[in-house]
Amino acid sequence: MTMNSTGRPTRSDNAAATDAPTFTGNKALQIEEALIFEIGDFAGTGVDLAEPEAREDRLGGLNRNSDIGLPGLSEPETMRHFVRLSQKNYAIDMGPFPLGSCTMKHNPRLNEKVARLPGFADLHPLAPNDAVQGALEVIDTLAFWLKELTGMPAVAMSPKAGAHGELCGMMAIKAAIEARGEGDQRTRVLAPESAHGTNPATAVQCGFKVDGIPADKTGRVDLEALKAKLGDDVAGIMVTNPNTCGLFERDIRAIADAVHEAGGYFYCDGANFNAIAGKVRPGDLGVDAMHINLHKTFSTPHGGGGPGSGPTVLSEALAAFAPIPYVVSEEGKFHLVETRRAAKAEGDGAESFGRLTAFHGQMGMFTRALAYMLSHGKDGIRQAAEDAVLNANYVQARLKQEMTVAFDGYCMHEALFDDRFLKNTGVETIDFAKAMIDEGYHPMTMYFPLVVHGAMLIEPTESESKRELDQFCEALLSLSKRAKSGEIEFFQAAPVHAPRRRLDETVAARKPILRWTPENPAEAAE
């Protein structure tokens, strides 16, 4: 038993003592919480509303007379319910969240504050033009920053997330091809095998067929293989840069040239723009369209899976096909172009491909992202990219003593490992990841990209201090040694300290229970 200097035990060596069940199922700060449907009833409520007057309704006889099935809780019960739930979540505010490709960086609270100013939060999207000049100014200013940072002439602001931005860019490409009269001919889109799943899904959603490009030995697009696949049936290529292996595509300009020469367009997946923002302009690399995840690169929070925002920059060749609505400024006054007819007049007769969403995009993310950009400035944005790349390389350099780096050389903002170091240990990537949870870390991205066996993709971001990185590396080195020492059961049992032990995803998928029902009151957690 380990003791501190006054002879008191600091850690029990008795595993049974730490696992001792409690009568309630609670574990000190971890309190079990039932579903609202098991706590509340249909008469309960946590709001005090005025009593409506008795009057004849004008609902056309379509009144809802049956029970709806929505329980209500008082305000204190509601607060307690959601606070208890919150304590079952890991978050960037608690510790490193090194999910590769996801860019979990610090979320400044200034951004939350400005987004809640009544002039932004309490503003209707269809209010008259004169009533929304400040909002249009935010959109126009943010658009300027995005165009400047990417070196691109235009940006579509309305896409609601990264995948929606991909859709925007690929729709613009489709419209440009159709305007050339080659819509029926150019139906194939090339995408590397290491691409995010959204890329092929987006291409298909636009009516294209997808053709994979293999990676070369260095983890990058195989240029010769790419060239061999080009032809007059190719609409374009979707390449992530820096790519999903965390590497900059060295041949990026040759790739762009080859695609352009074949009459196609170059869509760049900008999910990893944070590695190069303020360092390199994608417009200098031959890109025709690229979405920018404001919730990654510019730190509007991820919020447990959204909302995102995916403004999409467009080259000269595609700008005229941009979706409506968009903002134009004239002598210090801002207007919205809201119809295809008006867009046609603006765009030299080229036709906007249409509308992506009901309103103007994710305004609440625009205000946050702009506050983030103004705070950083061009010097801070460059420093952030450099620190992100430095942190990733530092982690790669320290971990390679025990873990196996997938590709040689420096990485960009994320370090990619494969599972060779776990060979013959019986421990798999998922076991290693789950053991990290017990050590107080959110695991890295697992099993992605698909081109690397048992991939572990670590993206520390610029938000981690050296001290935090050192502790993180020590923990991973210790786990690696432990795996190699043959403690399979330890890894397969992990996590043991989380609010739940390993969850059975097969059971969930085989007999899906997607809602609570009174007939099937899910067994209470005992």
Binding site: V47, E51, L70, G72, P108, H124, K160, G197, P307, R501
Partner: protein, 446 residues
């Protein structure tokens, strides 16, 4: 820079560990002629300076709460309890990622399960997903789903569907050269949409209350659609109406898409909002988007995970049901927390208060000479026919501090029949004084 923890000494020592001389060694794959370009942008600023800049822009806008406010058409001003905004700002919710590691994301997963249950109950459907971006994109996804289910390539859109929803749907479906049949403007809810459904039709999309505020009976349309083997997609842009009006599920809808903004989410100039998507159990494997499901952990405790991912892009890639990844996570939390506070009793009462406000507004405006109410039925929104161009009226009233509604010319700029229409919404936020001011100013303006 206050957000960056590394100091110059850290950076030097880390470079040494890496074995690089300078930071740009790490960027050696970038063509050197384009590395470190200059940008026409300012340097970093203090928190105070940024707040000042942003506040100045916010101050140029006319917020809904600043005066009498009657705009709706797919985004509605409702009171949001203070508790909701506190809950969504908790670090553990705000700064978490998509719950891909369920053992340390049970908080997010449990509220998603609760959200799905609430949405299914509200819409009268069997299952709901964990959200879409917003109502309009959900509408397009529903049309794509109907295409997968029926293997047909023609869709029929009601003339009462929000024109932006119609435009988003058309933009997505025309990519596949599908035939999109749009019924003419139908402000009085008199169209015979059932007659437009044939054996080629994959789905018919009908909104209720429609964009003009009319409450529509979906039952005969559902019957007609089903007789031809087509699906009925019901669109609800004012979800609070379902506290008063029969649910689309009860009227036979196959898919219900909704805009959930009204519950827990601010107007926010159009986003982020929360798309609701509900359907029948038999279609779950054709649904787009994330689904949260119940399961057990290794020692038998109940828990929740993302499930049926084989429909999704990160597993299925080019065979996925949709390309959606990030959805409206935090907005679903705002929805769930607000709905938990309301409960069924609160929701029904809130719906009645909305109806009361709109009835009072209608009574006051109807008295004005030359102003006619088109609707026979409505929930919290109705349409006026004015004796002149509604756009001019709206601009005139805005100058006097009254945000009067949405002029028809804004939504249907190419349709002269819409020019004199004014769509007016009234929620529980409208006071008797607001209504009086609106009526007085409108009388002067027409």
């Amino acid at each position: 820079m206050r957000y960056l923890p590394l100091n110059p000494a850290d950076r030097q020592s880390m470079l040494k560990t890496i074995g690089a001389d300078q930071i740009d060694d790490l960027f050696n794959d970038v063509p050197s002629d384009v590395l470190n370009s200059d940008f026409d942008l300012p340097d970093h600023q203090s928190e105070q300076a940024v707040e000042r800049t942003m506040s100045a822009m916010a101050a140029k806008n006319q917020a809904a709460g600043a005066g009498p406010f009657f705009i709706g058409c797919g985004a509605y001003k409702h009171h949001i309890p203070a508790t909701v905004d506190h809950i969504i700002q908790r670090s553990e919710f705000l700064t978490a990622y998509t719950p891909y590691q369920p053992e340390i994301a049970q908080g997010t997963l449990q509220y998603l399960f609760e959200f799905q249950t609430q949405v299914a109950a509200l819409t009268g459907m069997e299952v709901a997903n964990a959200s879409m971006y917003d109502g309009s994109t959900g509408c397009a996804e529903a049309a794509l789903m109907a295409r997968r289910v029926t293997k047909r390539r023609k869709l029929v859109l009601s003339g009462g569907l929000h024109p932006h929803y119609a435009a988003v749907t058309r933009t997505n479906l025309e990519l596949h050269d599908d035939q999109v049949v749009m019924a003419p403007l139908d402000e009085s809810a008199s169209e015979d949409i059932a007659a437009m459904i044939d054996d080629e039709t994959s789905c018919v999309i009908v909104q209720t209350p429609d964009v003009f505020g009319n409450v529509r009976d979906l039952s005969p349309i559902a019957e007609a659609a089903h007789a031809k083997g087509a699906l009925l997609i019901a669109v609800v842009t004012e979800i609070i109406s379902l506290g008063a009006i029969k649910s689309p599920g009860e009227m036979g809808a196959d898919i219900v898409v909704g805009e959930g903004q009204s519950i827990g989410n601010p107007l926010g100039f159009g986003g982020p909002y929360v798309g609701l998507f509900a359907t029948r159990q038999k279609y779950i494997r054709q649904m787009p988007g994330r689904l949260c499901g119940e399961t057990v952990d290794a020692v038998g405790q109940r828990g929740f995970v993302l499930t049926l991912s084989t429909r999704e892009q990160h597993i299925r890639r080019d065979k996925a049901t949709s390309n959606i990844c990030t959805n409206s996570g935090l907005c679903t939390l705002a929805f769930t927390a607000h709905m938990t506070l309301l409960g069924e009793a609160g929701l029904r009462k809130l719906a009645r208060l909305n109806h009361e406000a709109v009835c009072k507004t209608a009574d006051a405006l109807e008295k004005i000479d030359g102003v006619e109410i088109i609707n026979k039925s409505y929930f919290n929104e109705f349409t006026l026919r004015l004796p002149k161009n509604a756009n001019d009226v709206v601009n005139a009233l805005a100058k006097e501090g009254v945000l009067a509604g949405v002029p028809g010319g804004r939504l249907w700029p190419d349709d002269p029949a819409a020019e004199n229409l004014l769509i007016v919404a009234a929620t529980e936020c409208v006071t008797d004084e607001d209504i009086e001011t609106f009526a007085t100013k409108l009388r002067q303006a027409v």
